[in-house]
């Protein structure tokens, strides 16, 4: 398997992902002991269980003989009791094996999917609907678990009981096999037909479930907009349509289950078996005891017949779920870890050479070229949608260029080891994402394998001007963020993000409009802190702050994906009209002293 991935685990167990059934089998085969042990015990259980009607038949014969049958009746009773005990314990162990197998399967499959999602490129993640991915990772996963235990468990159990029943009937009298064998053939054909009917409906059911989840996810995450615009009815209508479709497939599924033919076939088989038994009895081929045992065994066919409706339904759902999961696993991703790539200390010499890039066929960036020497600060300005953020994302290979190249220290980023590349570049995003963990953990997020040192975390928080507000929380650095924790303002989030970036000590720093939400007196100090951080680091800065733009070493003016001008503030003020317009719209600030002076 040479699938590309940005992240792989050491000693990762390889599963066969060429098809849903093969994938399931390769997972189950990982635990051969539980799989085959469980199977063996299930067969044993059934063999023992089916001896009960035989002993019942014996008992019938015994009581027919009058008082002489008493000792035999007693011994049969004792044998039955012993049998029950042994059979019960083996049954218990078989079920526990199935349970362990089922839960390990989902545990492993979850880990497989999780690490796989981590390894997928940003392009992939942009394409996915979070709600649908969630449905695959959660509900489809539990379908897998249900498929192994109880479904596989029951199927194996019931089919081994079928085999055992047939063998026992054969032992009674080979002629008696006529009806049960015919029934078994018809049963298998009908079951196959049933599964085939069910399969597309199960697929659609899972699919609709995923879509319902996606609709729901969107509504919940955008709830503020929904409320603000009083559009609850619209969202409810959207949701009801989706959920209604799921209901239709659910009903369809129920109808197919209702038309399950084997139960009817079994009724016919029982009648015919009885008739056949009576015939053989009248021909003196068998005795009454045999007939009773035969009918008892035939009655036990009810188990396999009835359980299959439900267990095969679960299997179909499980396979549909597996299909959706491996579809996600097998999605191609266009970046890889590049383990053999260049590693080593980065100096921060950044070159863009005729870079063209787009998310689809329409290019977002066209023929971009510039050079940043180590330690330089480059400000990127331009109208919204000009491609500023996209440009910075090419540096740490969140995306790859379509043509041209991005080079760091003279080496194409695609030739760098991804780990070495990304760990030496830090980004502070516009929309800061924090994890539902403690503040300290969020700040220390970028530290790799190192022991999280409280002093370092606090130093970084100090530098990012976050220490003060963190101290105000009742639990300080251990305060939980998000769910069950505090809600932070935009400015607070950004300061945590800055602290997070500071702690990683990057060589290249990317600031994506990172201070726009900071409104307080701290901005001056943050700017000061950032300036200190920027020293000795190559910085790409997307900003609308005129002061930041003005003091940058070089400014890149972007318009509709093209660099229309590049130079220092003074140069651009002279040469670039667009740049001049940015500054001309600004109301110059007059310090208070001047205002007062004019009174």
């Amino acid at each position: 398997m040479s699938a590309r991935s940005e992240f792989t685990l050491a000693n990762d167990y390889q599963y066969n992902r060429s098809g849903p059934v093969r994938w399931i089998v390769s997972h189950l085969l990982r635990y051969k002991f539980f799989l085959f042990g469980g199977m063996f015990m299930a067969v044993t259980t059934n063999a023992l269980y089916s001896t009960i009607p035989l002993f019942t038949g014996e008992a019938f014969n015994a009581v027919q003989r009058g008082q002489t049958g008493l000792p035999q009746l007693i011994s049969i009773t004792l044998i039955l009791l012993a049998l029950l005990l042994v059979q019960g314990s083996i049954d218990l162990s078989a079920r526990f094996s199935a349970e362990v197998l089922s839960k390990r399967f989902t545990r492993d499959a979850r880990e497989e999917l999780y690490s796989n999602l981590l390894g997928k490129s940003q392009t992939f993640h942009n394409r996915q609907q979070v709600g649908d991915v969630m449905a695959r990772a959660t509900n489809d996963m539990s379908q897998l678990s249900d498929m192994v235990s109880p479904a596989f468990d029951t199927i194996f159990d019931s089919f081994s009981s079928l085999a055992v029943i047939l063998i026992f009937i054969g032992f009674l009298n080979l002629r008696l096999l006529l009806v049960p064998v015919l029934y078994t053939i018809m049963f298998l054909i009908a079951l196959r037909y049933y599964s085939r009917k069910l399969s597309p409906v199960s697929d659609r059911m899972r699919e609709e479930f995923g879509k319902t989840n996606a609709t729901l996810n969107e509504a919940v995450r955008g709830v503020e907009v929904v409320k603000a615009t009083a559009q609850e009815p619209q969202e409810i209508a959207k949701f009801t349509t989706r959920a209604g479709r799921y209901r239709d497939y659910y009903v369809e599924n129920g109808k197919i289950q209702g038309r399950y033919l084997p139960t009817l076939l079994l009724g016919i088989a029982l009648a015919l078996a009885f008739l056949h038994g009576l015939y053989l009895l009248s021909q003196h081929q068998i005795n009454i005891g045999d007939l009773i045992a035969f009918i008892g065994l035939m009655t036990n066919l009810r188990f396999v017949t009835f359980m299959s409706i439900w267990s095969f339904g679960l299997v179909q759902l499980g396979i549909s779920g597996a299909k959706r999961i491996i579809a996600l696993l097998n999605e191609e991703t266009n970046l890889d870890e590049n383990e053999q790539g260049h590693q080593g200390k980065m100096h921060g010499d950044l070159i863009f050479e005729h870079v063209t890039f787009g998310y689809s066929n329409t290019p977002i960036l066209k023929d971009i070229s510039f050079h940043a020497t180590p330690g330089q600060t480059i400000a990127i300005v331009g109208q919204t949608g000009a491609g500023k953020s996209s440009l910075t994302k090419l540096v740490n290979r969140i995306y790859d260029v379509q043509s041209g190249s991005v080079k760091i220290d003279g080496i194409d980023v695609r030739a760098w080891n991804l780990d070495a590349l990304r760990s030496q570049i830090s980004t502070i995003e516009q929309d800061v994402f924090l994890f539902s963990r403690s503040i300290a953990e969020n700040i220390a997020y970028g530290l790799k394998e190192q022991k999280v040192d409280q002093a370092m975390v606090e130093q970084a928080a100090h530098d990012a001007q976050a220490h003060e507000f963190i101290q105000q929380f009742p639990h300080g650095y251990d305060t939980e963020i998000g769910e069950r924790g505090v809600t932070l303002s935009g400015g607070q989030r950004q300061r945590l993000a800055i602290a997070r970036a500071l702690l990683t000590n990057p060589c290249i720093l990317i600031l994506d409009d990172s201070t726009s939400a900071i409104d307080s007196a701290t901005e001056d100090e943050i700017q000061h802190a950032l300036q200190r951080v920027q020293q000795g680091r190559t910085t790409l800065m997307i900003t609308h702050r005129l002061s930041q733009i003005r003091w940058a070493d070089s400014i890149l003016v972007l318009q509709r994906g093209e660099v229309i001008a590049q130079g220092t503030h003074d140069e651009l003020m002279k040469s670039c009209e667009t740049y001049q317009r940015i500054f001309s719209h600004y109301d110059p600030v007059t310090p208070a002293s001047v205002v007062v002076g004019q009174e």
Partner: protein, 615 residues
């Protein structure tokens, strides 16, 4: 073992219901389906009767065989068996069919109800609970509810079957029947003991699963950060711990569920052995016929089958009950926002009055204390102050996203608590700091607040902002898909779309939370020109961090820790040389090109106060 149970506490709004309450509640959902349920019940009874027929018929024919050897009677019985099988199958088919419809409809209703109730919750609910967990209640838990309902119907038919068989047995031979029932108390005792244990383990299992799921949700949402910091291994390790916990908890509950069936079967078989032995003695003693004895041996298996299958489905039943408990807890959660009346407001003028208002998000921190403010209709108010001063909270209170704890808030002199919130919010326009877009095109998103708007209107509004320049940067103009949450657009573009959405809505009050934070200066200037016109006849609450926005406000309010320090126009406040002037000098000067970080304020030129554009 300590770590295993970590983090599996109940949600704050979780509550416990008794089984009876739950089942009563579930049944109440079926009330509209009375007719269908009646038909299903009749089919269940019929099916059960037909199922009982089989052992009876066999026993009858055996007696015939042993007794008078009349093959003729036996043949007739075979015919009867055939007919009963066919009838039973037909009954079952219709039953399944109708059940699917009834359950499908009820689950749909429950889902819609749950979703509607989620949408009715105020914002504090969404702050507290992760979207992943809320979603799992609406979809997965209602799904398990369907399982419960199907199982209740199965249970009903199983209990009926049990009663019928028991009745027949008593009718045939009370002595033997009593004998067969001896193990009944043991089965009931085990089932009851199992029940309470199962409930507890099930809850733990579901919570640990919810934990796994919200972790997955987090990695999907935060994948860019994980990539930027190259933290995949750490993310994975954290996940693995949670996943392991879920494995242990689930295996444990799985053992319990899977263990119960073999144990009950074992006991049932012990019951069969008792009947074989004591019944056999009776046959030997000639108190009963061999056929009758066989009938008992045969039917006792059938007698226990319903009980054991009830037990084996018990796990799903318990899972479902626990799930419906979670769903009902969500439905029943008390909303924190309480409206005293539902008056739909007429066209709002936009006068806003805060009187001695007291507000906090939780019990820990008070945001506003004894807050008083009068906002005139049509006024543009800019709030300035430190992060956490309570600026955004004021906007959120006006939007009635949160409940306040004391004082009064009135709009046009009417208590905000007396409004029909939907009608009220339709006259509010809110532009949040991080705008959220729904997947669809730019047009769809602008139209969102007013689904009846024509394409022409949308075009006009879109062109109104920034002279429509921003549209040229979109690959397909207004028809550009925005992607989930708007991720296909830049943050600035999203803000413009959010602004257009509000403009189309034509609200009486506009609340902007630093709405232009990510828009470049060029576009911002263009927007500002448009905004001036738009804000003219409306009340506008602007939580602004930008100089240009603030200076255009009718009144600037300086706020600190929930208190108003100063208010007035820019020029007046500057002349007071107090808080605002200080804020202005220290806070806003860095927005000037003349400011150099850390090195103070470097003046470029000495300019008068007037707008240079006019100069």
């Amino acid at each position: 073992m300590g770590f295993i149970m970590e983090g599996l506490d109940a949600e704050a709004y979780d509550r416990t219901y008794t089984d009876r309450q739950l089942i009563k509640r579930i049944i109440s959902y079926f009330r509209p389906k009375v007719g269908l349920m009646l038909v299903i019940t009749i089919l269940v009874v019929l099916g059960s009767c037909l199922d009982t027929a089989f052992p009876l018929l066999i026993a009858q024919s055996l007696d015939a065989l042993v007794g008078t050897q009349v093959l003729h009677t036996a043949l007739l019985l075979v015919g009867l068996i055939l007919v009963s099988a066919a009838l039973s199958w037909t009954c079952n088919m219709f039953r399944q069919h109708f059940t699917a419809i009834a359950v499908g409809d009820v689950v749909l209703k429950l889902r819609t109800d749950t979703f509607a109730s989620v949408m009715e919750r105020d914002m504090s609910f969404f702050d507290e609970f992760s979207s992943g967990k809320i979603i799992s209640r609406v979809t997965s838990d209602t799904d398990s509810f369907a399982t419960v309902v199907t199982l209740i119907l199965n249970l009903l038919s199983q209990v009926l079957l049990f009663l019928l068989i028991a009745a027949v047995l008593f009718f045939r031979n009370a002595h033997l029947a009593l004998l067969s029932m001896t193990i009944m108390p043991v089965i009931i005792l085990i089932a009851l003991g199992f029940r309470s244990l199962a409930r507890r383990l099930t809850r733990q299992a579901q919570r640990s699963l919810a934990r796994v799921n919200s972790n997955v949700q987090e990695v999907i949402s935060g994948i860019t950060i994980a990539k930027n910091f190259r933290q995949e291994q750490n993310m994975f390790d954290a996940f693995q711990d949670i996943n392991k916990q879920s494995y242990y908890v689930n295996v444990r509950s799985g053992f319990l569920y899977n263990g119960i069936f073999p144990i009950l079967v074992m006991i049932a078989n012990a019951g069969t052995t008792i009947v074989i032995y004591f019944g056999g003695l009776d046959v030997l003693g000639h108190t009963i016929s061999a056929g009758e004895w066989f009938l008992f041996v045969q039917s006792i298996g059938l007698l226990w089958l319903p009980l054991t299958s009830i037990a084996s489905f018990w796990s799903q039943f318990q899972l479902g009950l626990a799930a419906s408990e979670r769903v009902f807890a969500l439905l029943d959660a008390e909303p924190r926002i309480q409206q005293t009346a539902q008056h739909p407001p007429t066209r709002i003028e936009g006068t806003i009055d805060f009187q001695n208002l007291f507000f906090s998000y939780d019990d820990k921190q008070t945001v506003l204390k004894n807050f008083n403010l009068h906002i005139k209709a049509g006024e543009t108010i800019a709030f300035v102050g430190h992060t956490g001063a309570g600026k955004s909270s004021i906007g959120k209170l006006i939007a009635r996203f949160y409940e306040f704890q004391g004082g009064q808030l009135s709009i046009d002199g009417q208590d905000i608590r007396t409004f029909d919130l939907h009608a009220y919010r339709r006259q509010l326009g809110i532009v949040p700091q991080f705008p959220f877009l729904f997947s669809g095109t730019v047009t769809d998103n602008i139209r969102y607040a007013r689904p009846d708007a024509t394409d022409m209107e949308i075009e006009t509004v879109a062109r109104h902002i920034g002279g429509g320049d921003w549209l040229d940067a979109l690959p397909e103009g207004l028809q550009t898909p925005v992607g989930e949450t708007g991720k296909a657009l830049s943050m600035g573009q999203r803000q413009i779309v959010a602004l257009a959405r509000v403009l189309l809505q034509d609200p009486a009050i506009i609340i902007m939370d630093e709405a232009t934070a990510s828009i470049d200066p060029l576009t911002e200037a263009q927007i500002q020109e448009g905004l001036d016109v738009i804000l003219k006849d409306r009340t506008a609450i602007v939580i602004a961090h930008r100089l240009s926005t603030i200076r255009h406000a009718d009144r600037i309010i300086v706020i600190d820790r929930g208190n108003i320090l100063e208010e007035g126009r820019h020029e007046t406040l500057m002349q007071q040389r107090s808080h605002y002037a200080e804020l202005y000098n220290t806070y806003f000067r860095h927005q000037s090109p003349d400011y150099k970080p850390g090195e103070g304020f470097i003046e470029m030129t000495q300019l008068p106060v007037e707008d240079p554009l006019q100069a």
